[in-house]
Symmetry: C3
Subunit: 123 residues, 3 copies
């Protein structure tokens, strides 16, 4: 088992690693839309979607993977009405690659965030 | 990585594949209780549970797997009061096979659906 | 595929196994903070967090794994305000091991429980 850490994504706020490599797969922890440079958060779903996917990408790259190697992703959003905008940003970011995905509406996320994303990818 | 597509299950509404095969496992996207033939949705949890498991089964079969090969499944339901009926339909559909499972009560699902199911299965 | 059953963790209340082994990994079903000895539940998040992680550990050990071999864990909590206490109990229980993790706030869990945990671990 290998543990990933990169300064290009938010430092874990709790007792977990940014990602763990096991059996040839990278398991990425739930990412929030924090800007790793200064800890700031943008207000809208479009900005938060971009940030959370940027964080995911940095962790994947640090682990020797990439967005194009994502097998499955689970997206938690604070309200299902955010689905359309999130999906558009996701499509722009992933391009031709279409992983397996589930979008799950939850209660309010940590610190009022609108979106959280976790993923499993190939190396 | 291999991407599954079958007309016997609902066409993805967003930027994802019905399922992805990686490392000898099939990762099925969150399925909703849409009838793939005409896009209709039945009102009750019993009908929606049957439909969503039928959709899951079609995607698994299209990927060379089956319900009997499901390793784990996550079930999102819009209210925990639906647990009992969903569990009964699930038991009837899976028969002797008892995968690992988590049932998660969420906020309202997309389009007011009562249940969403994602799964990981062996080939 | 191998199915795990231990009396040291709660008996499944529905149509699922406590855990399934596949491809060298153990997939543990969503665990609730039930005391397996008498079916009782403690009231607070601290006690429920301890119980649910004890249940997880017993199932992992029964399957030939351990908490130290957990690759990823998803934690469902009924309110994000429980995050801090849960994280502290989790840190005490896992010690130096920091798996990939997502914490997801949901609606009320089954029987009013405050926390549910599912996990994937190496053998």
């Amino acid at each position: 088992m290998e543990f990933i850490h990169t300064e290009k994504a938010p430092v874990p706020a709790g007792h977990y690693s940014q990602a763990v490599i096991s059996g040839g797969m990278v398991y990425v922890s739930g990412q929030l839309p924090l800007n790793p440079a200064d800890g700031s958060v943008s207000a809208g779903i479009e900005e938060q979607a971009s940030q959370v996917l940027a964080n995911l990408e940095q962790i994947l790259v640090a682990g020797g993977s990439s967005l194009q190697k994502v097998v499955r992703v689970t997206v938690y959003i604070s309200d299902i009405s955010l689905w359309g905008t999130f999906n558009r940003v996701f499509a722009e970011k992933f391009g031709n690659h279409r992983p397996a995905r589930a979008v799950v509406p939850t209660r309010e996320l940590h610190h009022g965030f609108l979106v959280e994303v976790e993923a499993v990818a190939e190396l």
